[in-house]
Amino acid sequence: MGPNGSGKSTLASVLAGREDFEVTQGTVDFLGKNLLDLSPEDRAREGIFMAFQYPVEIPGVSTINFMKSAINQIRTYRGQQVLDAVSFLQLMKEKMKLVEIDQSLLSRSLNEGFREVKRNVMKFFRWPCSNPSSLSLMRQTRD
């Protein structure tokens, strides 16, 4: 959506709320709210989803545990009921069919040692689950 160096990664980071950037002017209107007024986690809960090209590794944290935390915090924010272990697993199974992912990946540590292909699968997998209202997909390169 723009030539090299035109500011795609920067814009994505600003929208997601990375602290390294200072917005000197303007507002970002998102579904009636000014994104710039929200914390990064609230932006995520409102539906801003950023696909990281190189997902961060968190050793010892299983994908399933991570997703449960994320989904339940998002649900709480949206005034929905928190999912218990059983209904959470059920949701997982449905979504996994959707993207054809092997179950064994869920108990693995978050993104740890994933090869690029698998990482990509996992990152898209996380998307339908967290039900974002918008998706900003960009090939983010590590600068």
Partner: protein
């Protein structure tokens, strides 16, 4: 001289000899430490002569020893004459409901997920008859004694099982082992004793019992666990709830003794008051913990989660004497604010084919200092000894310190020793990744830290693992950003 006069004379001259009058009516020993203090404690507990002599020997040795200065901790020097070494156990204030308890404390309990009954027990609120803790404890005790398991206070053991105490007390940690062990040997007030007979597998976590039977942790606690041939026991000390104590100095001794094919699993959750945000106050915790794998194929496994105390000085160790014996040490030590911890283990390989495993996870935050100090010693006779050590440090912020002091002495060529060490920081990337998935910072830190410490937490008994996870998160609350 009349008979009564003679007796009087004898008594008074005896008192003169020791320069001390034992006032057994007093609830407290007078301040300070001398032979009289030791005699007072022993008399107060109605101990046999041999134990008094044992204490006195320890005291005399202690007088000639000097406080160690090698640990990587600093604290104002301790005035040992400005301490009261014995006071009768005080009953906790009897409150009528949790409403009378400090709301801050209740908040902490809730965050840790500690049940209402337990909250009441910990704060001294009267518990309703249905879940009367005393009767539950009695049931446990009956069940244990049916199997021949002895589990009682140290004083009771001295009275009821003197032959066992005489045989094993000081057999793993000799009275002159170190400064604090000698001090403890002279003045220990009480503690626990546990004996598992031949071939018996203790059917319950001894923690379960503990949690019901309020552990009255003293300043100088003494624990002795003996596992006879082929037996097994899992023992848990401490609890996740914050522990306050007016005594600043704590010097406990724990001795574990395993015979042929026996196993002891000893887990600790230590959450003593660490002092305030500015480093004022807090407990000094100088503990000697050691296990002796005496018999062939015996095993001792230490697991510790250390989050409290202003100063922690502690090296749960294993002496692997029996052939094919196994020693393990799993540790998470968290320091925040101005806390200082110097902790680790010693694995002494004496027997053939002995194996040891060390997993140490340090977490430093605030302005704290966290040191791992570990020794692996393979003696001449210990052919085919194996050790694997993994020492990881996690730093939060840039004002704390993490240090690793591994000592490796190998006297046998067939040994195989592996040591891995890593230091990492909680990355902004990791936190941001969590935030971007809708997880707030507090939960993010909890996830990351618990992931990091998982290998150790997995070793804890189930119900404690969950509490310990919450405890880690709580200890580190607000230390990022």
């Amino acid at each position: 001289m009349s008979k009564s006069n003679q007796v009087l004379e004898e008594i008074t001259s005896k008192e003169y000899e020791h320069g001390w009058t034992v006032n057994l009516e007093a609830d407290e020993a007078p301040m300070g430490l001398n032979e009289g203090t030791v005699r007072f404690i022993s008399a107060k507990k109605g101990e046999p002569e041999w134990l008094l002599e044992w204490r006195l020997k320890a005291f005399r040795l202690w007088q000639k020893m000097i406080e160690p200065t090698w640990p990587n901790v600093t604290y104002p020097s301790i005035d040992y004459q400005n301490i009261i070494y014995y006071s009768a156990p005080k009953k906790k204030a009897n409150l009528n409901s949790l409403n009378e308890v400090d709301p801050e404390l209740i908040k902490t309990f809730e965050k840790l997920g500690i049940s209402l009954t337990e909250q009441k027990r910990l704060t001294g609120v009267a518990v309703d008859a249905v879940i009367d803790s005393v009767s539950v404890a009695t049931t446990f005790k009956e069940k244990l004694s049916e199997l021949g398991i002895i589990f009682c206070s140290f004083s009771e053991a001295v009275r009821e099982h003197p032959e066992l105490i005489k045989k094993y007390l000081g057999s793993v940690v000799p009275i002159n082992d170190n400064y604090f062990a000698a001090l403890n040997s002279a003045v220990f007030s009480d503690g626990s004793f546990c004996y598992i007979p031949k071939g018996i597998r203790c059917p319950m976590e001894l923690s379960t019992y503990f949690r019901i039977n309020a552990a009255n942790t003293g300043q100088f606690e003494r624990t002795l666990i003996v596992a006879d041939e082929g037996s097994y026991v899992s023992y848990l000390e401490g609890c996740t709830a914050p522990m306050r104590d007016e005594n600043q100095l704590h010097a406990a001794v724990v001795e574990l003794y395993t015979m042929k094919d026996a196993e002891i699993k000893y887990s600790t959750v230590q959450n003593w008051y660490p002092g305030d945000k500015n480093g004022k106050g807090g407990i000094y915790n100088f503990v000697t913990k050691r296990g002796l794998c005496f018999g062939d194929r015996s095993k001792i496994s230490w697991t510790q989660v250390e989050t409290g105390s202003a100063i922690t000085w502690k090296y749960p160790s294993c002496i692997l004497k029996g052939d094919n014996s196994v020693g393990e040490f799993y540790s998470v030590a968290v320091t925040n604010n101005y806390q200082q911890a110097d902790t680790g283990t010693k694995m002494i390989h004496i027997g053939k084919n002995t194996r040891s495993r060390i997993v140490s996870k340090g977490i430093s935050a605030g302005k704290s200092q966290n040191s791992y100090r570990g020794q692996v010693h393979v003696m001449k006779r210990a052919s085919n000894a194996r050790n694997h050590s993994q020492c990881d440090s996690l730093l939060m912020g840039d004002q704390c310190g993490a240090h690793t002091f591994p000592y490796i002495d190998v006297e046998n060529n067939s040994a195989r020793i592996e040591h891995e060490a890593t230091t990492s920081k909680i990355g902004e990337d990791q936190i941001f990744y969590c935030l971007q998935r809708g997880i707030d910072e507090e939960a993010a830190v909890a996830l990351i830290v618990n992931g990091y410490a998982k290998e150790v937490l997995n070793q804890l008994p189930m119900e404690f693992a969950v509490e310990a996870q919450k405890l880690l998160a709580l200890t580190l609350e607000g230390s990022v950003g």
